[in-house]
């Protein structure tokens, strides 16, 4: 918590945008697991991180969203868990060039605990393995993101906290008519309370709806706990285009409202982050 407060002392931080589409622009095929590029094409992954840093990201993530061994097993890369995660951190650190913090991304296993597809022990072990590799490679903090199930997030949080690094846990509120529930039905209040109880350093929302819907999510997360809030809205949904300026205007309002970290998820690019960083800079100086 102290570490996070130090980073935030000068004000909220602009984070990065989507990586998957940026990697596709650099040749990632539809059938390829983006994380496998940490080993196959590290220089192209680094380009994405560097593009965000140059656009004004003060925090960049790692290309390790699917790099827990349960998710990697789906593409036969389970044995490469340590290598993929270590490489992911090394690449982003190089891209950050000391000018941005590197928060290492941890995504869901893709399996549901409630239906017995995986055991809590297996989930905990998978996240422990990933978190350890990310920490050993020198990540500044760990970001557990796009979570749906509060119990899975709790297991990930427990595993991540063992590394001693600051840990933020972020949920995807993409379900329900108002886009205020996760796929498993969790509310922002339930997510925030779990995060606080389980010792997270920050709580957040990412993916799901566009930035306008995030104002209400932010208000509810904020009211339910006193942790710093991390927000990464989508730029809209496929087929519903949002311009980088429209996105930046709503995202900057989230910063103004008191969010600690704001960036973008699906549909955003370095252009979106540049527009946001410009507005954020204007906010601070005015």
């Amino acid at each position: 918590m102290r570490q996070l407060a130090e980073w935030l002392a000068a004000g909220p931080l602009v984070t990065d945008g989507a990586w998957g589409t940026e990697l596709q622009n650099r040749g990632l095929a539809a059938g390829e697991v983006p994380d496998s590029w940490n080993l196959a094409h590290p220089e192209r992954v680094e380009e994405v991180g560097a593009a965000y840093r140059q656009a004004g990201s003060r925090v960049i993530l790692t290309n390790t969203f699917r790099s827990n061994p349960i998710a990697l097993a789906g593409s036969g890369l389970e044995g490469e868990t340590e290598a993929v995660n270590r490489a992911g951190v090394a690449i982003s650190k190089k891209a950050a060039a000391g000018k941005a913090l590197v928060f290492a991304s941890i995504g869901p296993t893709g399996k549901l605990l409630v239906t017995g597809d995986v055991t809590p022990e297996a989930v905990r072990d998978a996240f422990t393995r990933q978190a350890r590799a990310l920490a050993e490679a020198g990540a500044d903090a760990l970001l557990i993101e796009t979570m749906s199930d509060v119990e899975e997030a709790r297991l990930a949080l427990g595993a991540a906290r063992e590394t001693g690094l600051p840990v933020i846990v972020s949920f995807s509120f993409d379900s329900g008519r108002k886009h205020d529930r996760t796929m498993t039905g969790a509310t922002p209040e339930q997510a925030a309370r779990m995060a606080q109880e389980a010792g997270a350093d920050g709580v957040g929302a990412n993916c799901g709806a566009g930035p306008a819907a995030f104002a209400e999510l932010f208000r509810r997360l904020r009211a339910a706990c006193d942790l710093p809030v991390w927000l990464k809205p989508n730029a809209g949904l496929p087929g519903v285009s949002t311009s980088s300026e429209e996105f930046a205007a709503s995202a900057a309002e989230l910063l103004g409202a008191g969010a600690s970290f704001v960036g973008g998820c699906c549909g955003t690019s370095p252009e979106f982050i540049r527009a946001l960083a410009k507005r954020a800079g204007a906010c601070v100086s005015s």
């Binding site: 789906g74 593409s75 893709g110 239906t115 008519r177 529930r181 796929m183 039905g185």
Partner: protein
């Protein structure tokens, strides 16, 4: 004869053990499989669907209900086949190439099975060639494609293109679904329909119309 209203509750509550035990008991007592399906099983799944619509149920509850239904249905299947009952329709389903997400796909698959469809589930990360092969083998009328990532959505288009090249596009209806998928996207890539929350109703409508 006993009352098997408990089967309705067991399915709605996602209690597979009880749904299977009650179905076994019902069959032993000579209850007609079709009776069980129409009086308890389909109404239970319809109620689960309604609860999902009004946000009382979410994906896990629906998935558990579908599994309880499936467990019961598996006991009935040999008898239904023996009596010559035709499935509601034949479906091939899978998550497209490059996408490993299968929660949504499993849900739709289970719901379709619960709705009386014969479902061939190809799993996740399925190549266009595999889809084509499965349609040829099963004679499916419906193909359901799932993708959860914006980066894998283009594989839906590639798969539809593969059906066209194989000359089987006109024999099938292609339904697409998944978090980032929209009606507009379905239209853009030449799919026949988009299933938000109502895949089963959509599939029934298509079979009825064809």
């Amino acid at each position: 004869m006993s009352d098997f209203g408990g089967l309705y509750d067991a399915i709605l509550n996602g209690d597979q053990k009880t749904s299977v035990a009650l179905t076994k008991q019902a069959l032993e007592e000579g209850v007609e499989p079709m009776d069980l399906i129409h009086r308890y099983m389909i109404p239970a799944m319809d109620e689960a669907g309604k609860r999902f619509e009004c946000e009382d149920f979410f994906v896990p509850e629906l998935l558990l209900a579908a599994r309880a239904m499936k467990g019961a249905l598996e006991l009935l299947r040999p008898r239904l086949a023996a009596s010559g009952a035709e499935p509601a329709g034949r479906v091939v389903i899978g998550t497209v190439k490059g996408d490993l997400h299968d929660i949504g796909k499993n849900l739709v698959s289970s719901m379709l099975e619960g709705g009386g469809f014969e479902v061939t589930d190809l799993g996740a990360d399925v190549s266009p060639e595999k889809f084509v092969e499965a349609v040829r083998k099963t004679g499916a009328q419906i193909v359901c494609l799932s993708a959860l990532l914006t980066v894998t959505m283009p594989a839906m288009k590639t798969t539809i293109e593969a059906f066209r090249q194989a000359g089987i596009r006109d024999q099938i209806k292609v339904l697409i679904g998944g978090a980032p998928v929209t009606e507009q996207y379905a239209h853009d890539i030449g799919a026949d329909g988009y299933g938000g929350n109502a895949a089963v109703a959509l599939a029934r409508k298509i079979v009825a119309a064809s």
